[in-house]
Symmetry: C2
């Protein structure tokens, strides 16, 4: 029986590499609009125009599939940022280009990035992956700041540097979330605003200005 009755164009067979990408695309879409748990493998398969066992054959279990999504998106993002912020530029330019690339990425892959990212924070199995990725980012930013300060002849304790870098990355992530939630907002403008706050604030801070808590 096996209804091959459909008048629809009997879908072509595709090589594994391509189908895998299609599946990942579908998985990102579904994970992002449903959340990890509410997403069903059936829906993902359906969305990819394929049947469920294929997904299992190529990408493995649901968790493995999610991790694969995470890795692909993370790699894309890191590539975009690293590619934009060439190390031979002056520091403010590097930070600016990096931020612009970051927000550009978030703007382009709105549902992709934002929700994957949001999802990954909650559930134990993926928190580690995310933490590693964030650590790499923090390191890069801290390197930028350090470079800039050395050029001015200043030096700052590593811990302090890292906290500031962490704050910058955190603020950017938050504005990334904000951007993903406001489809009509402009990534470029958002990047400019972030750059303002970052450069002015962190700049002052690392240059030695401090605010001290009152005695009370």
């Amino acid at each position: 029986m096996l209804a091959r009755v459909s008048s629809a164009p009997t879908f072509k067979r595709l090589p594994r590499a391509i189908r895998e990408q299609q599946m990942l695309d579908a998985a990102v879409r579904v994970f992002s609009r449903r959340g990890f748990h509410a997403a069903s493998m059936d829906e993902i398969a359906d969305d990819a125009g394929i049947s469920k066992p294929m997904v299992y054959a190529y990408l493995g279990t649901k968790e493995e599939l999610f991790v694969a999504c995470l890795h692909r998106e993370a790699a894309r993002m890191m590539e975009a940022i690293a590619g934009a912020a060439a190390p031979d530029l002056p520091a403010d330019q590097r930070l600016w280009r990096g931020l612009r690339a970051f927000f550009g990425f978030v703007g382009a892959y709105r549902d992709g990035w934002a929700v994957l990212y949001r999802q990954a924070r909650g559930s134990q199995p993926f928190a580690g992956e995310l933490a590693a990725m964030r650590a790499r980012l923090v390191e890069v930013v801290a390197g930028m700041l350090d470079h800039a300060l050395r050029a001015e002849g200043r030096e700052v304790a590593e811990t302090e540097l890292e906290v500031v870098a962490y704050a910058l990355v955190g603020a950017s992530e938050s504005l990334g979330d904000w951007l993903a939630d406001h489809p009509d907002a402009d990534p470029e403008k958002t990047a400019t605003r972030m750059m303002n706050a970052a450069w002015l604030g962190a700049g002052q801070l690392l240059r030695g200005a401090t605010w001290r808590p009152p005695a009370a």
Copy 2:
């Protein structure tokens, strides 16, 4: 039969109001260590030292229970912050006290706050609740900044103010996450660092200093 054999103290019957609080306590614990979906109503009931139908009778379905948790924690947090940042203090004091209260709260209710908060971002049903709560916070912070600037005779467009406020709130949330992940970190110190970045950076920014993107 109905094994009332346990040598444990036959648990006293308690009035509804108290049991509800115990259930909420348990729910927060379990949600925070398992995540919304992986948490089972059975485990929550067990953790509360009560049986499942009681939970349904008092707090309703799983989603309703989670929302109840969210509301209680949010209310506690807003109260802590608002109570600390009395409106008759000078602006920097208000911001400082607010931040200190915020990080103090996060530090005290580590698993409570952080994971509830992280959970709520992912799943559709709760995103709205969280957005509303954050909006209130942003409004408060924007009010503080506005107040401070008016005192100096300056005035800033409302949109701009809101974005800065959003960035501050976002950065604080991120550092809150960080704090929740580092059990040996000091809330007070974290608050000081945040205050430094916020006051110096935002202060400059709102006072008219700007960084402009290069032509290229």
